[in-house]
């Protein structure tokens, strides 16, 4: 098996995640799809790290993970705040960015 198979897998996961972002209406599910895409990119970085034979890719994947963790915290807090004011977690209802 060629290590490029991991790249194929991560490409598939990224595409699935992007379709999810486009299709779903629930803000949390959209957010989970974004996480899926981030993970796909991480897998690509790790695979390229292996293909290239150095560890930079893994370090950057680590940074992506940290940033993703921070992003999840803030994003979920925002979703929660929106839900409190609008009583809805649907991205269609948040079309004013106010109130």
């Amino acid at each position: 098996m060629n290590p490029a198979n991991y790249l194929v897998l991560s490409g598939l996961l990224f595409a699935i995640g992007s379709v999810g972002v486009l299709v779903r209406r629930n803000a949390i599910v959209v957010f989970m799809c974004v996480e899926l895409m981030l993970n796909a990119v991480n897998l690509t970085l790790v695979t390229f790290s292996r293909i290239q034979g150095n560890l930079e890719g893994q370090v950057i994947a680590f940074f992506v993970m940290v940033v993703a963790a921070a992003e999840v915290v803030i994003g979920l807090a925002i979703i929660l705040t929106i839900f409190r004011t609008r009583k809805s977690a649907s991205v269609d209802d948040v079309n004013l960015l106010k109130y």
Binding site: V29, A61, F63, A69, I74
Partner: protein, 292 residues
């Protein structure tokens, strides 16, 4: 990279059979988990499928000689982040089903077609380009650095130390931001002391209501009994005993009770004491409580 090193490292064009087997088991599960997350009606099911998918990706990291990232993936992603997601899902309400109405017509179909095209675009050219490329493999670098974790730590704290510091600042900012976003101003609720002070200031009667019959002047069965709220004029202070002549409107004249509020002011009940200021404007039975 030094060409000597490249030559020395055995290029990997195909991996071991065990890895291939693991990959072909793990990869379909990952793809199915991702697809399931996208199509799942229930968001909690989606979250659990995403956990499965992330776990598969973690296994892929392990297969790629990245044990540190693999375990960080399991601990941080499938552990912490997905639990956070589930927390928020439960807070928001699991039953918040999304409407199936498309706000943009044909969006779902278009998104699916575009996604398929995108997948093809990502997978086919990439696969073709990479196909013949030999992979160096990161095992030697790991070994040279004294293990994967040591090697990553060395990179992290030397070359990438600035990024590391920036990311740590980012984490602190994120924590503070989440606190600010999640903080809700508590509705101003008066304390017990405040409530008491207001009650005294309003002039309401603070003593409990006397029991039934306290103001009774007649002991006869044909008289209507005095109910707890019906003392009208006798507000506050010690109730005067019947017969004192100041028991006010009562007994055979319930109508006088109807003006309970006016009782104290118009006919100052002798024994009512100084606190006869109850503002009792409510109708008969109901408002009498405050008249007390």
């Amino acid at each position: 990279m030094d060409p000597h090193l490249l030559a020395a490292a055995a290029p990997i064009t195909s991996t071991s059979g065990g890895e291939a087997l693991t990959f072909w088991i793990i990869a379909p599960i990952a793809v199915l988990g991702a697809l399931g997350m996208v199509v799942a009606k229930n968001a909690v099911h989606g979250a659990l499928l995403l956990v499965a998918n992330l776990f598969c990706v973690a296994v892929c990291y392990l297969l790629n000689d990245a044990p540190f990232l693999g375990f960080v993936q399991i601990v941080v992603y499938t552990g912490a982040i997905m639990v956070l997601f589930l927390f928020v899902l439960m807070l928001i309400g699991v039953d918040s089903t999304e409407s199936l109405v498309e706000t943009l017509r044909g969006q779902r179909l278009a998104a699916t077609v575009l996604g398929l095209g995108f997948a093809g675009l990502l997978v086919f050219p990439l696969g073709k380009v990479i196909k013949g490329q030999p992979a160096t493999g990161v095992a030697d670098v790991n070994k040279a650095g004294g293990g994967n974790i040591h090697a990553i730590a060395r990179l992290l704290f030397t070359e990438y130390v600035f990024a590391f510091e920036a990311v740590s600042a980012l984490l602190v900012i994120a924590a503070v931001g989440a606190m600010i976003l999640g903080h809700r101003e508590r509705a101003e609720k008066p304390s017990q002391k405040e409530t008491l002070r207001r009650r005294v200031a309003s002039g309401a009667v603070l003593t409990p209501m006397p029991g039934p019959g306290v103001y009774a002047s007649v002991d006869s069965a044909d008289q209507r009994p005095v109910l707890p709220g019906e003392t009208s004029g006798l507000v506050g202070g010690t109730p005067t005993l019947p017969g004192g002549g100041d028991a006010g409107p009562r007994g055979g004249e319930p109508d006088a009770d109807g003006e309970g509020g006016t009782g104290p002011s118009s006919a100052p009940g002798g024994g009512t004491g100084p606190s006869a200021v109850a503002e009792d404007t409510a109708p008969v039975g109901a408002g009498k409580g405050s008249g007390l």
